[in-house]
Amino acid sequence: MKTGQLIESLAQDANPVRRHAVAAGVATALLAGTMLSFVIVVALVGLRADLVLAVAGPSFWMKFAYTASLACVAASAFAHLVRPGARTPGLLWLAIAPVAATGGICVHQLSRAVPGDRIAQIFGSSWSQCWWLIALLAVPIYAALALVARRFAPTRLRMAGGVAGFTAGAAAATVYGLHCPETAAAFLLIWYSFGIATATAAGALLGPRLLRW
């Protein structure tokens, strides 16, 4: 086919594109993946029995604020990275804020506890399943983000994959908070973060393979 003919047929196909198409696409994918994760949590491990009571307390919202703010920062960075030629998004540095805040609460809680309680704060009762459940719950969210990335045009595949993993992990951790009974900031900072980090690493590893367009 001659280039002129190609241009003609492409021009005929030029339907209008929404101004915020990328943001809308990423948000929709994130929402759809998170809803799927939610269904899996309910089906697999169930919501915490004291959920209604828990939402009245501060530790639930500390966990929510930590994971949800990380998810928002990561999702925004991901929306940058699905465009060609994107550089490392500076806004990723914002992720330091929730980590620092939670770290502050963690130090405060640990300092006020007797040594025996400190171990309980750090390990809780579910540390060994928390981190990989979060990574598992991140899978459908990552899949949704990967599908939307392939409709767009990331050119830095490992970084886009890593940030997608980060987004998926943080969103999955938010959903996981509906099941998890732990309340200590130390537990949150260590094991939730470890789950998110696992999802990030896996996402980066798979990026070059899965995000190609």
């Binding site: 241009i7 492409l10 021009a11 030029a14 990328v22 465009r83 030629g85 045009a153 490992r158």
Partner: protein
Amino acid sequence: MSADDNQLRALMVAGLDGDKVAYRALLSAIVPLLKRYYRRRVGNPDDLEDLVQETLIAVHTRRATYDRDRPFGPWLFAVARYKMIDHFRRGRISVSLDEAEGALRDEGFEDSISAQIDVDEALRTLGGKQARVIRATRLEGLSVAETAVREGIGESDVKVSVHRGLKSIALRLRGGGR
């Protein structure tokens, strides 16, 4: 380039809003830009037409990723570069050695590309000194000074040998179309 970029940008934005005439003008305008971009980087001139068409299609299907508040040129050439690397990765074209190096460094493409260029094979066909200094400077990460010390030759000798050796490899790659 800035004034031209504003023109292209205006055409692209109009196209994004559904103006087919402006969009056609944009696509026609970028053809010579893409040809010039590829001519300097791609070994075989027969590949040019294919690459230009592939990139036009990519520009069209991924046009939602263009940020209207940013310049058009960098976006266009980011797409062009990605398509070029992708074709190279799949063995469809050969590129200049500089681009190959860039593609090797580029995230995520290292594994598939190093399979394409059989570095050991290429170095084996070179003379002893050229192969040794290229291996030292490019593969082992030694500096020119360190290589000169190791080989017992002057630094300018190292540089000339690397240059001549790479040139031979480039000619061989281009000719073989591997």
